[in-house]
Symmetry: C2
Subunit: 284 residues, 2 copies
Amino acid sequence: MTIENISRNKSFGGWHKQYSHRSSSLNCDMRFAIYLPPQTLAGEKVPVLYWLSGLTCSDENFMQKAGAQRIAAELGIAIVAPDTSPRGDDVADDPDSYDLGKGAGFYVNATQAPWQQHYRMYDYVVSELPALIEELFPVTGQRAIAGHSMGGHGALTIAMHNPDRYSSVSAFSPICNPMTSPWGVKALTSYLGGRDQWLQYDASELMKTATEFVPALVDQGKDDQFFEAELKPDTLSAAAKTSGYPLQLQLHEGYDHSYYFIASFIEQHLRFHAGYLKTNGDTA
Amino acid sequence: MTIENISRNKSFGGWHKQYSHRSSSLNCDMRFAIYLPPQTLAGEKVPVLYWLSGLTCSDENFMQKAGAQRIAAELGIAIVAPDTSPRGDDVADDPDSYDLGKGAGFYVNATQAPWQQHYRMYDYVVSELPALIEELFPVTGQRAIAGHSMGGHGALTIAMHNPDRYSSVSAFSPICNPMTSPWGVKALTSYLGGRDQWLQYDASELMKTATEFVPALVDQGKDDQFFEAELKPDTLSAAAKTSGYPLQLQLHEGYDHSYYFIASFIEQHLRFHAGYLKTNGDTA
């Protein structure tokens, strides 16, 4: 397994680094970012929080704008931020859409042409990337997962499918019920075809029938312009009540969909994950 | 005085807002950003930290990447971030240079054609913008000033020319001696003409002969790629020794010129300024 270091910046006593590597899941070259807290410089292995970004983002948005490194440095947690889709000239795209194709992988394994050749972000995030990180960096096998908007959808669905692999999950402004949102319907139709394939990628549908639980924290701004049409936190809340899912949903007056919202509450999310990462052993 | 609100985002209980207005100093429309901490929502007036950004930046970089709002909210300090040059289709530019023209105003009053019609960032930052802020927002007359790289040069020179207007000054990776750096020589030649006009805009030259002091904090990464050729912190340090200037210069192993460096130490800068803003009355 070879990866290439393409940037490094010292940050809060640790290191922010970007790497490129050939992804076998996605059949293209990919870039990711990792924050290694200062504890790793002293030889310590630390747990990892995977962060999944939203539509139009790359590995850079969270690392530059969320202000997470300060708390990750204090708590001794590494953060890994993958890109949001496969990339490259030979990767299918819908250049007129910000919500389909490059920058909009939706963390699914596509089955429909022309997407199925590269758009397998679910496999990349769940299996290939953690295997690479755990082979090449000073980390334990303990994992948490979080994300924003499309990435919040990704984090919730991935955690619910893999309760043995993640200690905890959190999301900011997640797409909670993509089967009924314009963003979700467009992406799921294109990547998966018929509606019978959509259930497996809908956080509210999965949560309603869940029997194995991952502690979950969701924050949502009440002035988010996508609140009603795209995000639907009430649907997720109702689903959690049905199954008894350990979901903590917090609504915040005045906050919107931006990184100014994420930055305001990221500290709570990191401390939430730290509580579970410290008390659990390695996950599967 | 009319200004137009063009964006707002709730942030750490306060508000980040962008405004556009017609600048009489710069003879063009300008955009700036302001962070109003939660204390202002309760009717309190707060002091202001002016932040001057570096080459290629706008009003957005610091607000998005530095993570300053968390501490400003705690301390009750507003932050104002102007753009780095005049803007607009009729403003002179050097489109092939990132270090001259738009995005590179160097916080001087230009005297040479074609720059002198719009490039008067010194007057804008020292006089016009504070007058506007203090008329229209819930702030006191207490001011501090800080900046990065070209903006660190701007903050230091502006504070030294106006010790009655600023309680304290700080800088990350400032251009300390622009008369001897490639960035500085290019800009000062274009904007001001002959070398006899440069001294007034050189922080090391001003500090060497200063008799009125503004408490000053400077942080510099030792792995900054511009350390030797462009920034020259040793020159500033020597100048401070000559005049007895109250300069605290901190060098940091491993840190570079990026916002990852600024974010790592911005808390110290805000607490430094808060100490002087709280103990002083209104400045002139």
